[in-house]
Symmetry: C2
Subunit: 111 residues, 2 copies
């Protein structure tokens, strides 16, 4: 069980496509559970359960307003993911540089 529990690991939390869609739908702004349910056409219990997972890892925050609960995304919490990914930026750039060099070589040969 090396895929850590979704409830403690951002990477696992965003591995689920429904959870990603929920986060995506919250980019537009704070939303009530019912709104998310309507937007994504998912059963309400599922949405609540996914929101719970996202809340446990801190990717969303919740506040109560009357009998509704408004959730918002907490994008700063994506930082570990961003940082992990950043390790590969350089590697990508090096490859693109090599492609650039290659294309320039081709061009020189054509002249």
């Amino acid at each position: 069980m090396s895929r850590s529990a979704a409830t403690s690991d951002i990477f696992t939390a965003v591995a689920d496509v429904h959870r990603r869609r929920i986060l995506d739908s919250l980019i537009a702004g704070e939303k009530a559970v019912g709104t998310i349910v309507d937007d994504l056409s998912l059963p309400q219990p599922q949405v609540s359960k996914h929101l719970r997972v996202l809340d446990d890892v801190g990717l969303v925050r919740c506040r109560a307003e009357g009998r509704r609960r408004l959730y918002r995304v907490e994008p700063l919490r994506l930082r570990p993911l961003r940082e992990w990914l950043a390790q590969y930026e350089q590697t990508v750039n090096e490859r693109l540089d090599r492609i650039d060099d290659y294309l320039q070589d081709l061009q020189r040969q054509g002249e």
Copy 2:
């Protein structure tokens, strides 16, 4: 089963910490399976299985050299992850701007 099969979805593929460590260890460059096994102190069959998953989603590529197999990371394949994450950059920046504004307000009040 909305967490798509690891073999078809890079989000799920990188959800496993061992697979991330394997990818990380390949940043340094092409490596044979045995080298990864030594570096990460994981059983060889597990490494092979994880490499298979990573290969299925295109995150690594393999070439044979004698009886060894050399794997390298394919960072360009992380693009969907990068793009998904990019959606949240703006949201992060907006929040930071708001924090900035707030701090400036504080400063003005202190003057």
